[in-house]
């Protein structure tokens, strides 16, 4: 995540949009860049979370089997 400080919304958009098959017009570009910049600030805040190195406790947990089967 350390690369987040070097994040350039313009370069990121130009690289990622074609990779995802998205066409972003000149009219859409300022708005998309604004929200990419906000997202980058949010990523920097999330990065300050004091997590243990060995903690990979993701909030969503996948439970195999039919819904409710673990309660029976």
């Amino acid at each position: 995540m350390s690369g987040a400080v070097d994040f350039d919304p313009e370069r990121h958009l130009d690289a990622m949009a074609p990779a995802l098959g998205l066409t972003i017009t000149a009219g859409q570009r300022p708005g998309v860049l604004q929200f990419l910049a906000i997202a980058q600030r949010m990523a920097q805040i999330a990065e300050t979370c004091p997590l243990d190195d060995d903690a990979l406790d993701l909030a969503p947990v996948f439970r195999p089997g039919a819904a409710g089967s673990d309660a029976s």
Binding site: M16, V32, Q34, F35, A43, A46
Partner: protein
């Protein structure tokens, strides 16, 4: 027979059950009011008049036959148009979804309220695909605030807040991913409940962000809110996130009071300097509930950031094909956020899901010695429709993401929240009553105590710019 459209739903139901008024008369009164006011408020996108009349007739026939009626007999309600309504395409505030085939069956929560005798009046306006805090919508037009028609209703459950505030539906259903029940509840001045994540089944509703989507009710009265909530509880196997917990009634302990509860005001991230209406509302609620001091909520900013990233990533991935094929058919105000979200690095998303778990665990520690937390719901009362920025703590910020400043950290970890409206000036503003997971009963007890003391009230719109003025 006169019908008071602002009467509590449970009072209306009692009158129908006792035969003082028929369900058909109640239904007609509300349909007439919708015809008169909806062109100004724009809360309803679909009015299901035929279905409502047929259901009302059935209720009256059941009564005449001596059958036992449900606890919401004849009570009108309406649902945000991301809930499936049999016979209608589930538009979810979008243009694209109107091409979907009509829903074959109602959403589970509509079925549960209908089974209790409530009468569905229609589908309600909302921000496109629920990515909204304003109530503006490029396809259906803005939903207007019943207290001041030039102002936002708040979103994304804009029609739900506005319809219930305007006396068009005593109970309405909405969804809340980052604040979409609590923001319109605050701006429109009605009570709302965002239950614990996983409490109410989302089956047959159009998703926004699976990790964070909640459904819940709005009402003008806390007893109605608790009653509707209780009637909608219970597992449903088709929603993978829905709890297997049994129904845990909130109505029974509603009047137990708050004297035994340890109540604190949220500090730190939730401070309201420079936000006079929010400051006054939190102070009034804290005093009335006997709150003991302030508690910092370390990590709230991290939680808000996590909610932003999870929402942006999941929702954009969900809509990726539509963004590729039909970007011009999106509302421009939501499209640019979705396009940006589609481009986010996976590492940001995974970090957000780790941070979410961490903040949940931190809040669990805080709840070891606190039962209820009071926090502001919105930084301000309803902004003007079309407003693009908000001044918050001396900074000019984009309005759309900023209206959820105080709601996002809480829904990120799925805590139950009751939204209680305070009216001190011309416009209402709401306060969040936040409890530990699965303790909706505590949120609602506090909301009831505030209603009982007169501090919180869903006041009928009466100002010179409201629906009470002549068109």
């Amino acid at each position: 027979m006169s019908i008071d459209v602002f009467a509590p739903a449970h009072v209306l139901a009692s009158r129908v059950i006792r035969g003082e008024v028929s369900a058909a008369e109640v239904t007609e009164a509300f349909l007439t009011r919708i015809t008169a006011l909806n062109p100004r408020v724009n809360a309803f996108t679909d009015v299901t008049a035929g279905r409502a009349r047929e259901q009302a007739r059935g209720i009256d026939q059941d009564r005449a036959a001596g059958k036992r009626l449900g606890p919401l007999a004849g009570v009108p309600f309406a649902a945000k148009n991301l809930f499936d309504i049999a016979g209608l395409p589930t538009r979810a505030g979008s243009k694209i979804n109107r091409e979907r085939p009509p829903a074959a069956r109602d959403a589970v929560l509509i079925e549960r309220l209908s089974a209790a005798g409530a009468v569905l009046l229609g589908g309600l306006n909302m921000g496109e695909y629920a990515y909204d805090f304003t109530g503006e919508n490029a396809h259906d037009g803005p939903c207007r605030n019943p207290h001041d028609l030039a102002r936002m209703a708040g979103g994304s459950s804009s029609g739900s807040g506005a319809a219930t505030a305007a006396g068009l539906a005593p109970i309405s259903l909405g969804s809340d991913t980052n604040g979409s029940i609590r923001v319109p509840g605050s701006l429109c001045g009605v009570f709302g409940l965002k239950p614990t994540y996983g409490r109410l089944p989302r089956t047959r509703s159009f998703p926004f962000c699976d990790s964070l989507d909640h459904l819940g009710p709005f009402a003008r009265n806390v007893t109605d809110l608790a009653l509707a909530y209780d009637l909608m509880q219970g597992p449903d196997a088709a929603d993978h996130a829905c709890t297997q917990r049994p129904v845990e009634p909130a109505l029974t302990p509603l009047q137990d009071g708050v004297s035994a509860l340890r109540i604190a005001v949220a500090g730190g991230y939730f401070e309201t300097e420079g936000m006079p209406e929010a400051t006054a509302a939190v102070a009034a609620v804290a005093k009335a509930l006997g709150a003991k001091g302030k508690r910092d909520i370390p990590g709230a900013a991290i939680s808000r950031a996590a909610a932003f990233l999870i929402t942006n990533s999941e929702s954009s991935a969900f809509h990726l094909e539509r963004l590729r094929e039909r970007p011009d058919d999106f509302d421009p105000d939501t499209r640019d956020r979705f396009l940006a979200g589609a481009l986010l690095p996976a590492g940001w998303y995974v970090q957000a899901q780790r941070a979410r778990r961490w903040f949940h665990d931190e809040m669990t520690k805080l709840f070891a010695d606190v039962d209820l937390i009071i926090a502001p719901a919105t930084p301000c009362p309803a902004p003007l429709i079309g407003q693009k920025t908000l001044e918050i703590r001396g900074e000019t910020l984009p309005l759309r993401p900023s209206l959820g400043l105080f709601t996002q950290p809480i829904s990120c970890i799925g805590l139950p929240v009751a939204l209680a409206p305070v009216t001190s000036g011309a416009l209402p503003i709401g306060v969040q009553l936040i409890a530990p997971p699965w303790r909706e009963d505590l949120c609602l007890r506090a909301a009831y105590a505030l209603q009982d003391s007169g501090i919180c009230e869903a006041r009928p719109p009466s100002g010179p710019a409201s629906i009470a003025c002549e068109p």
